[in-house]
Symmetry: C2
Subunit: 218 residues, 2 copies
């Protein structure tokens, strides 16, 4: 595990088999990393534990070779079993204090938050990053997402925590300058990359915009 | 944790919210223990991690007070987070060696097996018990179960392992003498207890038959 404060979450790709047009989690991860993704999150609520474990081992090998981070969604046991870099916890997952106790101090724990108060609590309880969204309309990826919160939600959270902020939900290439400008450290995408006909090209285009936006706001 | 060789798995009740007629996992567990259940397994593939965690904490408290064992289905992380006595792994769950490494030597790991060879492997890899089934027709509880294997499958596994054998699948009170006679150490039930109008009475009737069968075969 790299030291946490030096981690680069810039382009954070969450796999989703239902959007991937027949491509496996590994296919998607491989192409996304080739296009410049820094983080791969394995997320599949319909797979068995055994399937997730096997796919997780493959993605661990891939991400280790590529120097990308590997985050397991929800399943802390599988994160440990495949030696992922960490786990992402939504609001319906294991509470952060219980998760931190089990996974130890070194691993990444990302937490979905809805407002600055939750971000401050997450930081106090040992989160490694916070994720906020949906920033824009994102009908196709997560059925349980609420209404868009807009980039101003990022700016509000920026004042509440020093943790890296991952912005998620409906983010397209043309939004990136605005999202980075509002204080996000990371752009998380599902369909913008996973559902793209050319995953590598889609990831590369996003990554390029992130780099450009960083320069503009540096 | 009690020492493993002294554990009593006699009546092993697996909770199932879809069969419980509106009663919660905790309601079911409470009544089953009052009727004499020795083991409660929390199993709910549709609940969120957070719901399972909260329900698990309640069932941990209940089973600790009652001196019953508490096993979590599949989710090793939740088993650890709520300090359950162990975890049960099906054929589509985390492989036993990976699970044993994570959960440590002291906790119970139960494994579903289909034949004597799998039982011998499970013993060699550190399983605490093996479960075999469905012994009889059990259409209502597990959609993924194969055809009934009959009590003779228990006898075959009895020759392959010294581990406790949990028999599961369609077992009713009138089967118990046959199942115990074939070498089972434990009767696992879902609907026979969980779907009963009077859970406590249903559990007590099964427990009484187990005790009587043990005497007959002692």
């Amino acid at each position: 595990m790299p030291t946490q404060h030096r981690l680069d979450y810039s382009l954070y790709v969450i796999t989703d088999r239902s959007l991937a047009k027949g491509r496996s989690h590994l296919d998607v991860a491989k192409a996304a990393i080739a296009g410049g993704a820094n983080v791969i999150q394995l997320r599949d609520k319909s797979a068995s534990s055994l399937e997730l474990y096997r796919e997780g081992l493959r993605i661990r090998e891939l991400t280790s070779r590529a120097g990308a981070l590997f985050i397991m969604n929800d399943r802390l046991d599988l994160a440990l079993a495949v030696n992922a870099d960490g786990v992402h916890l939504g609001q319906d997952d294991l509470p952060l204090p219980a998760a931190r106790k089990l996974i130890g101090a070194e691993k990444i724990i990302g937490v979905s938050v809805e407002n600055p108060e939750q971000a401050a609590v997450a930081e106090a309880q040992g989160a490694s990053y916070v994720a906020i969204g949906p920033i824009y309309e994102a009908r196709e990826s997560k059925g349980d997402a609420g209404p868009p919160v807009g980039p101003q939600a990022i700016a509000a959270i920026r004042k509440a925590t020093r943790l890296p902020i991952v912005a998620i939900g409906g983010i397209k290439a043309h939004h990136i300058a605005e999202v980075i400008g509002a204080g996000a450290d990371s752009i998380a995408v599902i369909s913008a990359v996973v559902a793209a006909p050319d995953i590598k090209a889609a990831a590369a285009a996003l990554r390029q915009r992130i780099v450009a936006a960083r320069r503009a706001y540096a």
